[in-house]
Symmetry: C2
Subunit: 410 residues, 2 copies
């Protein structure tokens, strides 16, 4: 079994993919070892929508938020053009530009992904509210009414240095070095025009190709995302995630809004609570993922069920309060675990859930759900703290001749 390098991959694909099949999804299939470990996949960068939203969540995340240092729209335009071009090359499994050919110039690609597959890399760009306040950019008239800073919630302990930002880059891949490489090189390209504000490495369990969805568990030990919207549910995506042809502003059609929340988990307190407490806190069986009173993970929540005169799913259970009676309130989640050293205050591992969600309207969707959880508050509140928060408008995808942000900036 020979290692399959980027170069092999591209050569094969370019040569008409002799012996390889290119599936409808854009994933290369047919090389046994690569198929099984899911590493050979490429996800197209160009399209009606940006990738990394309905794309099945890859195993690893590197997310970065940037402050814009310029107020010249032409410079921002040039940045988004260069970023889009570089992102497309990386998602294709190529080095950016010509990597190691000009000895007297800095390499156009930093090189740490040379020889490996793109690992399903997606790069997703977004614009924060602050961008529309920079007078020189003159974008104020194009600001979406839905793009507002997330309102504060009871219990929030937000750190400004882990919140907000003018432009975001979400890089997801099945290889953390591929995700890191993407952000690192975009930061390199953007030097002088943007400054990194904060960044976050995220992980999940290593998936096999057959188990990408089913196998997730968060650091609470519970199955993750059971009742989530699915990216392949086109109807739900159109009603809850994508802005359609009648939505405003026009430049956001085909786009969506992204909310991030950095949520620390008090692991010591959680780990000291009993199994029953944990299950009552979440409202599900820890092993099976079934709603309390149910049998299987996929069972619908029966919020009216009663046992011994009380709700089978307790009144403050997380699943009860997170549940949206209004189906238009539902969100598309893409969550990762994080572990960032030790919190010197508590002496605990600084770890938790880096929560990402996509929606048509952050106030109507994420904020409505979070307001219920934070103000009731739900039973999980005493084990978690929201320490970072950000919101970004995610413009539509780019065509091969365009770039992400073109609908806003031209």
């Amino acid at each position: 079994m020979t290692p399959i390098t980027r170069r092999h991959l591209l050569a094969s694909a370019g040569a008409g993919a002799a012996g390889l099949g290119i599936g409808a999804s854009g994933y290369l299939v047919g090389q046994e070892s690569a198929e099984a470990d899911g590493l050979l996949g490429t996800v197209p960068f160009h399209g009606k929508h940006q990738a990394g939203i309905v794309t099945p969540a890859q195993d690893r995340l590197y997310f970065a938020s940037f402050d814009l240092l310029t107020e010249k729209r032409a410079e921002l335009r040039e940045l988004m053009r260069e970023w889009s071009r570089a992102a497309a090359e990386m998602c294709d499994g190529k080095a950016i530009g010509e990597a190691n050919v000009q000895p007297l110039a800095p390499p156009q690609d930093s090189g740490e992904t040379a020889g490996i597959s793109p690992a399903n890399l997606t790069v997703t760009f977004g614009f924060g509210p602050g961008l529309f306040e920079k007078r020189g950019l003159a974008l104020n008239g194009r600001r979406p009414t839905a793009l507002k800073p997330i309102p504060p919630f009871p219990g929030d302990e937000l750190d400004e240095l882990e919140s907000g930002g003018d432009i975001c880059v979400q890089a997801c891949a099945d290889d953390p070095q591929v995700a890191f490489h993407a952000v690192r090189n975009l930061a390199r390209i953007g030097q002088g025009v943007v400054a990194t504000r904060w960044s976050q490495l995220g992980f999940g369990r290593t998936s096999t190709s057959s188990s990408r969805r089913e196998m997730r568990r968060n650091l609470l030990g519970f199955r993750e995302g059971t009742a989530n919207l699915r990216g392949d549910d086109t109807e739900a995506m159109n009603s809850c995630v994508w802005l359609g042809e009648r939505d405003n502003p026009p430049w956001m059609r085909g786009g969506t809004y992204l909310v991030t929340r950095r949520i620390r988990i008090r692991l010591q307190a959680w780990d000291r609570s009993s199994l029953k407490q944990q299950e009552q806190t979440i409202g599900r069986d820890k092993d099976s993922g079934a709603p309390l009173g149910g049998d299987e993970e996929s069972d619908p929540l029966d919020l009216s069920a009663v046992s011994n005169g009380k709700g089978t799913i307790p009144g403050r259970a997380h699943v009860r309060l997170a549940f949206s009676i209004d189906p238009s309130e539902r969100i598309l989640r893409r969550g990762y675990a994080f572990a960032d050293g030790v919190d010197q205050g508590s002496g605990e591992l600084e770890a938790g859930n880096f929560f990402i969600c996509f929606q048509r309207n952050p106030e109507h969707q994420f904020a409505s759900i979070q307001r219920r959880l934070a103000t009731t508050p739900d039973a999980l509140t005493k084990y978690i703290t929201h320490v970072g928060s950000a919101v970004f408008a995610i413009p539509p995808g780019a065509s091969r001749t365009g770039y992400v942000g073109k609908t806003l900036l031209e």
Copy 2:
């Protein structure tokens, strides 16, 4: 293709492994999908030496350093007994104790690895110099002379909060959630007896089973570990890594010493340097990994070669100064990349190399090499800063009835 869960794995292995072969290396082989992604592997916890040293480096690391809160030797003994038992269960792919059976007790396993393979998990324990200074433990007479804090080097900017510690846990696995789970549960078990001092998540490129060694590149974009000792080179391990039957103190026979260095890379400065500068700094070709003047990565360093009246490999090239003329100075490396957010001082991504090495004598081996690099200094020095440092005595492995540290503590 059905997902292969821990339960399936254990059931199969327990039933005589019908249809599965257990290789000499202890890796389960024969299940196509699992073999290809390398996730089904188990590495035995018990043995003459601890695992995680000569074990081929897994893709992910979670390393933690603990301060001991007790001076009672019996409590430390009990901790190491419980930790060894839990580590053995986790390395076998089992939950710790009985995970989710007693509703009114806290689960004995936090649960985030339920249903997945052990992903070649290894857990390696070590003892820091401070342990031998705690009077109540009365271990001073057993302190190895080789176990001393690493001396300061020119240019070090060590952060005490990322350095030192009384006990270390190195968890390596091909799944970051498996590595995190190991440390998190050991911290849970140790509550009240140890406090987490610092921890570090590390990553490499996602390997396929065929390319675990060949495919590594560090964040400088260069091939990693070309000239390293190999764990399967028994002669080199015996002369450079393991303490033998005549070495002292007797409790360390079959053990070794571990040094960690947290090395930040100034990515912006590195990325602005030319390809030629980068290659002259390292002393190798960036693409091929060949020594300058050579053709292939495996070519020996020719330190006497001259081009145009100067050394073909420059005098301050990293490979020249890192090279050990004395073969007994060589170390066994196990390095990982890290990316921990943004450094607020420089505005740069806080990223670099978490360097781990094993050796018979840290002063004779790591410190000799590092002293050359830091005092000359080598050309790489201007792009990197050492910000964390620690040293630990790694006792021999445990038998099935014993525990790691037994040779010291009984």
